[in-house]
């Protein structure tokens, strides 16, 4: 699809804003609608758009496969690790009260960390699934030109 000039220019213009919006949804999920799941999908859609327009191989150069694999596992580790930290601090698994001096900011910190883990895993899994599907068939590569 690299000969479609309009698509290329518009996607290049849009991708930074998609990434920014994903980050906004991720870190503003405490106050407005959104959260890790939605943010992860939006963040992944930016990379998928890049892969659709500029070809899978270029997208793999931007975001190598082993990074995606690390992201898939790291998000879940962050989530479970938050629970383990609260275990070590003498409370129940995933009890965020002890993560900070007072329980309210501890809860806030815990929710923040957990949502970040969710977002990381969801984004990585979406990119990984897309790469897996697109890397399999040669028709998509031909369509991308």
């Amino acid at each position: 699809m690299s000969h479609h000039l309009v698509v290329r220019v518009v996607s290049k213009l849009l991708i930074p804003y998609i990434l920014l919006f994903g980050l906004y949804v991720q870190f503003h999920g405490d106050f407005g609608p959104g959260g890790g799941f939605q943010a992860g999908v939006i963040f992944a859609s930016a990379f998928i758009l890049y892969a659709l327009v500029h070809g899978l191989n270029n997208a793999r150069k931007v975001l190598p496969d082993h990074w995606v694999r690390i992201g898939v596992a790291l998000g879940l580790i962050i989530y479970a690790g938050t629970g383990v930290i609260s275990l070590f601090l003498g409370r129940n698994f995933l009890d965020y009260d002890v993560l900070s001096q007072n329980p309210v900011s501890g809860q806030h910190l815990g929710i923040f960390a957990v949502e970040f883990g969710v977002g990381l895993t969801v984004a990585s899994v979406m990119v990984a699934i897309f790469f897996a599907f697109a890397g399999r068939g040669h028709k998509i590569d031909e369509m991308e030109g």
């Binding site: 106050f31 959260g35 999908v41 479970a80 815990g110 979406m126 599907f133 369509m143």
Partner: protein, 174 residues
């Protein structure tokens, strides 16, 4: 929304079906906005209308674009679907009126979450509070499900493709 569902059943061109299911997700998202479930609407629009459409198109490129017509008679599945649907509709007759403040679901833990949530966590979005704090175990299970799905797809599809790509690269160099 009903029209899109019938189109999905009727059409045999899978490309069109994928597109219509994307439209269905978008309509479902607007429906969720109407009933004030903004977080769910957000998810439906991002996942249903966005990423899953692209993933389905990716899957289509691996298979064919037209549906094969089945040879089996559709009567038994039809009876099963009608029975299940009938049972579900019968079940809804017992449900309280939508928005009834005296419904059991509004009496159990929901008032505690709504009143104590912001005091205990300092997070105004109740959905986030319930999802990430009160029901944190469930959410961890969901993340594990997504993790497992990703690992499964990679195990089934990505590894073989990676091997083939490496071999092709090697040939190109040689």
């Amino acid at each position: 929304m009903v029209l899109t569902v019938f189109l999905i059943v009727k059409l045999h061109n899978l490309f069109a079906v994928v597109m219509i299911s994307g439209i269905y997700s978008l309509l479902a998202a607007t429906f969720f906005v109407v009933v004030d479930a903004v977080d769910v609407a957000f998810t439906e629009a991002a996942v249903g209308a966005g990423v899953s459409t692209v993933l389905m198109l990716g899957a289509l490129s691996l298979t064919t674009r037209t549906e094969k017509t089945g040879t089996r008679k559709p009567f038994v599945p039809l009876v099963v679907v009608l029975l299940t649907g009938g049972a579900l509709v019968y079940g809804t007759l017992d449900m309280p009126v939508y928005g009834d403040p005296n419904a059991p679901i509004h009496q159990h833990v929901a008032p505690v979450y709504l009143e104590e949530g912001i005091k205990e966590t300092g997070v105004p979005n109740v959905v986030t509070v319930v999802l990430a704090s009160y029901r944190s175990y469930d959410t961890m299970g969901e993340v594990t499900v997504i993790f497992t799905a990703g690992i499964a797809v990679m195990a089934l599809l990505a590894v073989g493709a990676g091997g083939r790509r490496r071999r092709k690269d090697g040939e190109d160099k040689a």
